[in-house]
């Protein structure tokens, strides 16, 4: 926008600054992209080739075989942590987390914004204090609690404790407060009760927000590492991101490390969340940047 008017008056000197702008952006893009491309290149090579030469400027023919190994072959003792199994677990964690978070968050936010409630202030602070302390800080006692409840190595043990934070509630509270007040008044005059108002008016109004939240929360859930590392000790419960730890340890110990297989697993752990973020870019950016207000 800005540069058009300037370009007209002084063409030559401005051209160079435009070139410089592009150079900076290209350098930034390469900084972001190159590491992944290098890892991707290694997944097309035989392992012995990688060990001898490292990443090279050519595309090998081993991709199919490495993919086969990554998806079907297991590295653990039980033979249950195949790439497919871990991917399934990652999807369950990501979707379950996003779904739970949004449903609970919308319910609580609706109660806080649209009702006259005596304990509203207390409830508000009880919920919003959770924004301050991430799970990482209280990791050991959380583990003990989940252990006492017998929820180790279960999907709900994996998902529910992660939901105990108020990000979605906060987000929806902000959004609900920005919804014009006349809507509630009109709905009440028309005789709509709280449930009808929520289902027929508020939820349709929030569609874009729900979509944005869903993307952010899915990525957040999929990328969880510390909690799954502690809660899942059975290999059949591993997620892709949690499996990374085991992959690095296997690489360290092996005589001929399976770089093709492990690097491809890392790529597979990256592709679904990245694809979602790229495809639904505008929603995602909107949701992310709205949340700070």
């Amino acid at each position: 926008m800005v540069d058009i008017s300037v370009t007209r008056t002084a063409r030559r000197p401005i051209r160079w600054t435009v070139l410089l702008d592009h150079a900076v952006l290209i350098a930034g893009s390469l900084f972001m992209l190159l590491p992944l491309l290098i890892v991707l290149q290694t997944t097309t090579m035989p392992d012995t080739d990688i060990i001898q030469h490292g990443p090279q400027l050519k595309i090998g023919d081993q991709f199919d075989e490495n993919l086969q190994k990554a998806m079907v072959q297991a590295s653990g003792f039980s033979g249950e942590n195949t790439g497919l199994r871990m991917m399934l677990n990652s999807f369950i964690l990501g979707l379950g987390f996003a779904f739970g978070k949004i449903v609970l968050g919308m319910m609580a936010a609706y109660a806080l914004v649209y009702f006259r409630l005596r304990f509203a202030t207390i409830a508000f602070w009880l919920i919003f204090t959770t924004l301050l302390l991430p799970l990482e800080v209280r990791i050991l006692p959380s583990y003990k609690v989940v252990q006492n409840l017998g929820m180790l190595n279960t999907y709900h043990g994996l998902i529910v404790p992660l939901i105990a934070s108020a990000t979605a509630t906060f987000f929806f509270r902000q959004f609900f407060r920005s919804v014009p007040e006349e809507l509630v008044e009109a709905a009440r005059i028309d005789g709509a009760g709280p449930v009808k108002f929520f289902v027929d008016i508020l939820v349709p109004l929030s569609q874009t927000m729900i979509a944005a939240m869903f993307i952010i929360m899915f990525v957040y859930g999929w990328n969880q590492y510390l909690w799954p590392t502690m809660i899942t000790t059975e290999e059949s419960m591993y997620t892709l991101v949690r499996g990374i730890k085991q992959i690095t340890q296997v690489l360290e110990g092996a005589a001929v490390p399976e770089f093709g297989r492990s690097n491809l697993l890392a790529i597979i752990a990256v592709v679904p969340p990245v694809a979602i973020v790229i495809f639904f870019q505008s929603w995602f950016v909107k949701g992310l940047t709205e949340s700070d207000k």
Binding site: D21, G28, I38, G54, V113, V137, Y225, V285, L288
Partner: protein
């Protein structure tokens, strides 16, 4: 709450119960448990525990190792925050002025947001592979004998690099959307008043971005303190040994590997207090900031 709300009493309570009970069981209970067990010394073989008062805390503050970890965390946090904010700001300003290919650049610069920290760490391990890692080779060209996971400073360098790589995209997204929300009139006025681009940046753009920058500053500090766990864990390759680590990582190492429940809980409590202080500062600043809004 809205002026015009609904008057039911049981419905809002019913709506709040799921969230409140999850928060109570998985947030408040563990948090209180941490405070409580920080005052006890646990028998390493699990035969009960004895009340020791503030001894766990005294041990921590007296320990040279804990102080070393705390110092590393401070320096690490400052470096990661500063570098990722600076790089992201530069890229956002450039992406905002450019006309051609703006969308492509935006996509190329933001996708790393979705990469999990441990996967980023894993990619770092590959890049710094001892025998053929491209970055190890690059360091070798300038005579730097880079050994990841063995030399303290080298591992610390890799941690900062990977953490910055992972964090630049979020900052970029926020800065760019902040820049694009500037009113057109402000830009035009600035263009008339000030011909030099760097002058316009420091006099107009930078102060206008201050609220976004402040929000990001806090986000980045919390990121460097807590979310880099996965990066640290993969880059030290599961062998903390002589390697650098952050305070959060030490909570995990002492609690799970060392089985020192009391000491680990005391560390958790220290971190909680630290975060609460940080949060209160933010709260105070936000109140002030309301009054210095420019737009």
């Amino acid at each position: 709450m809205k002026r015009a709300g609904f008057a039911n009493t049981w419905l809002p309570i019913l709506l709040l119960i799921p969230q409140l009970s999850i928060v109570a069981i998985f947030f408040y209970w563990p948090a209180l448990e941490a405070v409580q067990s920080s005052f006890f010394l646990q028998d390493p073989f699990g035969f009960g525990s004895t009340f020791v008062g503030f001894e766990n805390y005294a041990d921590l503050f007296g320990s040279a190792e804990y102080r070393k970890v705390a110092w590393f965390t401070v320096i690490f946090t400052l470096l990661v925050t500063f570098l990722s904010l600076a790089i992201a700001l530069l890229l956002a300003v450039k992406a905002d002025t450019i006309l051609r290919g703006a969308k492509t650049y935006r996509t190329l610069l933001m996708w790393v947001y979705a990469v999990a920290p441990p996967v980023a760490g894993f990619i770092g391990v590959i890049m710094f592979n001892q025998t053929w890692g491209p970055l190890t080779n690059l360091a070798g060209l300038v005579g730097w004998d880079f050994v990841l996971g063995v030399k303290f400073n080298d591992t610390a360098f890799a941690m900062v690099l990977v953490s910055v790589w992972k964090q630049v995209p979020v900052n970029f997204i926020f800065f760019l959307s902040g820049l694009q929300s500037f009113p057109k009139s402000v830009r035009e006025a600035a263009l008339i008043d000030n011909r030099s681009a760097s002058g316009r940046f420091w006099d107009i753009t930078f102060p206008l971005l201050a609220p976004t920058g402040f929000f990001l500053l806090i986000t980045n500090i919390t990121y460097a303190l807590f979310d880099t766990f996965g990066v640290v864990d993969t880059l030290v390759k599961g062998e903390p040994g002589n390697n650098p680590m952050t305070l959060v990582y030490k909570v995990y190492v002492d609690g799970f590997r060392g089985n020192d429940l009391g000491g680990s809980s005391a560390q958790s409590v220290i971190l909680m207090v630290l975060v609460l202080v940080l949060a209160l500062t933010v709260f105070q600043f936000r109140l002030v900031e309301r009054r210095i809004h420019y737009t």
